[in-house]
Symmetry: C2
Subunit: 572 residues, 2 copies
């Protein structure tokens, strides 16, 4: 790698100057000092902080300049890159290995001249040129979906600095906003418009925001958004966007000085598609394990490409900044001739919502069920750190496990702190191929202000192990009604005071601490029993006791009353 005598310098052209594209460009330079490297970016900025855009709208990131991590000049000085902003790659001729490039500023000037009738200037302005390449890297990203709703042209989206400027400008003097779509960006934008002082309505066509979460996990997010004053309208779509309001499918009209469309994103594969490059089933650019498209000299990375799913091995779209960055670096390695390959994607992601951390990795229960895959679900409600030390927050965790192999299939978490850490640990365990039971043995850093001697992740492992070995049997929140219908009785082992604040329909209350003396109050032992407590811990103790004392059919309500309540709230 330290060749001091260059052969003919290579020409590398990179389409897209953020995340994947710029990671590829800078890594390529470090690997090949002699190449010419040109980066084409359609917008006016490169290397900007995409994931920070909503927070500048809300004023959390005060200075716009903080979003601009690099400039063409700084990248030129450090990496000798030819970075061209407001420059679009409009066509690829794969046979000749050239990209047709349009200078958008020059085009705008020429068209202005044309409009002024100055055809001489117009015709003389060559705003398109051709760039030859030895290797071309496509990293155009994804475009916001704009559904064909009447009036959609008024809706703003949030993809780049220009969009951010437009949204900030639109909020000036505005009092009301409607955000259409409750994905990560929609939820972030809603929160930040609230910070700006607007009255915010969020409309989501499905029954929940944040699709990576299962319904019972998202309940605290809905509650936090409503508590903060966001008018959350779930399970209803937008039918019309008017001049100052938005009409929903249920006929309700919501005032809307500002409308933001955050319905999702779609791979920006138009350039690749027009060049005859193969697309995948999701409409993303198809690439092989070395990021090669169907043309051997054209590579693609980031939100625009189809990725290999770590669980199914199938193709999927995972528009995440960290994956784009990782792929950008890897494609540079491939182009420089190093041994390198893409890796299947888990899709670990996190979003902050009004002080809550909401994170997930792998598959959720909805997806497992839709795919017909066997799974076991585990819900826990641990504390972020030892509860005897001030400042511990509660959290909800969910683990999905393959009942045959004990493999971890996915995890979700919601809480005010410590969720990011637990999801990262589980994602790392998945990458290392650790089974769910092995989470029990992880040695995680413990002092009372940072964790628990029996950490939240260890606890998930113990529950998984108990279920795997048959020491515990569980019932899910959504299975209770059918089980009761079929004759099961519900035994709530919390204190009478807890019980009085709400329990499952028909539950009998015998606190765990007096259960041994009050066995006569427990139905059975021939009756199927569902044992429940607040979160599942006391229920496990009681279940173990009863099973050894003659009750044969005892199941512990997974996640306890807390998960059941969240599930009911989500279903209502």
């Amino acid at each position: 790698m330290s060749t001091s005598a260059p052969q003919t310098p290579k020409h590398y052209v990179i389409v897209g100057g953020v995340a994947g594209g710029m990671s590829a460009a800078t890594r390529l330079r470090r690997l090949d000092e002699h190449a010419t490297i040109t980066v084409l970016e359609r917008s006016g900025h490169v290397s900007f902080a995409n994931c920070g855009l909503p927070y500048h709208v809300g004023g959390v990131i005060e200075k716009r300049s903080a979003l601009l991590l690099q400039t063409p000049a700084s990248l030129g000085a450090r990496f000798n890159l030819d970075v061209r902003v407001r420059t679009e790659a409009v066509a690829i001729d794969t046979a000749r290995q050239v990209v047709r490039v349009r200078d958008l500023a020059a085009q705008a000037a020429a068209e202005a001249a044309h409009a002024d009738g100055d055809d001489a200037v117009y015709e003389e302005t060559a705003y398109e040129t051709e760039l030859p390449y030895d290797a071309l890297v496509l990293s155009p990203g994804a475009r916001p979906v704009r559904p064909p709703i009447p009036g959609i042209e008024r809706a703003l989206t949030l993809r780049d600095i220009e969009d951010t400027d437009a949204l900030v400008a639109a909020t000036a003097g505005a009092r009301t906003a409607v955000v259409v779509g409750g994905g990560f960006i929609g939820v972030e934008v809603a929160e930040n418009l609230l910070h700006r002082g607007l009255t915010v309505t969020l409309v989501e066509a499905t029954p929940q925001v944040l699709a990576p979460l299962d319904p019972e996990m998202v309940a605290p997010v809905h509650a936090a958004m409503r508590k903060a004053g966001i008018d959350l309208r779930l399970g209803v779509s937008v039918t019309d966007i008017g001049a100052d309001d938005v009409t929903l499918a249920d006929g309700i009209r919501v005032p809307a000085d500002v409308v933001v469309a955050a319905i999702g994103v779609r791979p920006d594969a138009s350039l690749a598609s027009a060049a005859g490059l193969a697309l995948g089933p999701g409409g993303g650019i198809a690439v092989d394990g070395q990021f090669r498209t169907s043309d051997p000299h054209v590579y693609a990375v980031g939100d625009a490409v189809e990725k290999v799913d770590a669980l199914s091995g199938g193709s999927g779209l995972v528009p995440l900044a960290n994956t784009a960055n990782l792929q950008g670096r890897r494609v540079a390695d491939v182009i420089a001739g190093m041994p390198s390959a893409d890796r299947p994607v888990l899709g670990t992601a996190i979003v902050g919502v009004l002080g809550l951390q909401v994170a997930a990795t792998g598959w959720n229960e909805k997806r497992l069920r839709a795919a017909g895959r066997a799974y076991r679900a585990i819900h826990t409600h641990p504390a972020s750190h030892a509860t005897y030390y001030p400042g511990a927050d509660g959290m909800a965790l969910k683990l999905l496990v393959d009942p045959e192999t004990d493999a971890i299939l996915g995890a979700q978490g919601v809480g005010r702190s410590g969720v990011d850490k637990r999801i990262d640990v589980i994602a790392t365990a998945m990458a290392g191929g650790l089974p769910a039971s092995a989470l029990a043995e992880l040695e995680l850093a413990y002092a009372p202000q940072f964790g628990s001697a029996k950490d939240a992740v260890n606890m998930l492992g113990w529950v998984a192990e108990n279920l795997r070995l048959g020491i515990a049997r569980s019932v899910q929140w959504h299975e209770v009604a059918a089980a009761v219908e079929a004759g099961a009785r519900v035994l709530d082992v919390r204190t009478p005071r807890e019980f009085s604040r709400g329990s499952l329909p028909g539950a009998i209350n015998v606190p765990v601490d007096s259960l041994r003396e009050r066995l006569a109050d427990v139905p059975g032992p021939e009756v199927p029993l569902i044992v429940t407590c607040a979160v599942g811990v006391r229920g496990h103790v009681a279940s173990r006791m009863l099973r050894q004392l003659g009750w044969d059919d005892v199941r512990n309500l997974d996640g306890g009353y807390t998960t059941w309540r969240a599930g009911m709230d989500a279903s209502s």
Copy 2:
């Protein structure tokens, strides 16, 4: 596991009612409802929060009751345990399978009667009894080391609630304190005595506090302690403890209304040893992979036992609460006849010091060097999350890698936030057998308030990969002087302004962004070159450039000026 017809109930006796002992007792109950389970605890409390004791001294944990997680009564009600506090196991007769048990309260009463001359009461008081066992679990923990310093009897230690009460009482009216020993507990106690308003001196016989860290990593901890007003005296021992001061080996006398000895702990193996059970090379109780001592009916767990080191396979002492808890649960599984085994120990640990998180896992460089093991060290200084989002903290990370196998040997981190997460992720990667390069590919949850698109852990993986593939070569802070002596020149590629605030002796300053134009200012290309910047990132860019432009012998200073400065400060 749901046997409803009990055979003869088993008798289980557990010595030690905290961490490992109580984890074993409660798990045993869940696995065996019919056994009699007796827990013997010498102190007046069980299941107390050992790791919280220093924080009650400092008033961070205000209420003493917060430290008492369970009582004998609550454990009796929920788990049907016979929990006896102020009760000491004084002898084990392994042949007869009985423990001789002393009721310390009854003994005290009897001895008081004896002192009063009431010999009739004294002789009638049977304060010792025998308890038979089918299985005995020893979890006596570790005792604070008390070195033979004149006056040591005045020094307080911190092991249980009674010690905590004594230390709190001693601080009343006190103005000065000396803490002897700079391990985790010494550092925590020093901070908490400062919170109490005392003037605190910490004396540590070695040149650094917190031995799990290498010297250059601990420099920010020393700085934080000194800045907070702790009089830190390193590399000097205590020779005498007087009535109101402490004399150090350098002759200095430090005022000390309160003296705390926190020199370390030693396994409490006296009971086991007296019973003829085998001890390990470190003086801990020797156990096999199923926690069995040399007697098949006696098991042992926690701080008192020797553990198997995950890296060497050898025996070692790892007095950590999380390990004790994990072992307590596992030994119950073994006793109940389940397939279960101990696992080798990495020794992941963390401590909070004046707002810093200080964490480590695996081996440090000192230990690798002492063992003659080959290793590669990597230092980075990433941010806790994206720097464009408010509130990012800097941190120092260190990774130790096997240069042959790419295995991760250990990691250390210091910073105000996000260190716990990174060390947990690395510990999990180690548990999963992931090589250092695989850290580059971990998909960690990214949003700008929680991490970076290229996370700190990914960065460590990239550095490891670059070194492994020869794309980068590095030099360590402690190797610079010898390299310069042998003819190497130092090229500092920071800005002139950064350079003017301090650099390596003899360094030449050519900023990376003008390096291509100023190659003539760079010594060589035949001269060996050490390239440096602030943390190693720009140095890597410059090194790659120079190697490809004809410089053959270029090494990047690992961790840059920041690590070099910390190393120099630690060595001075």
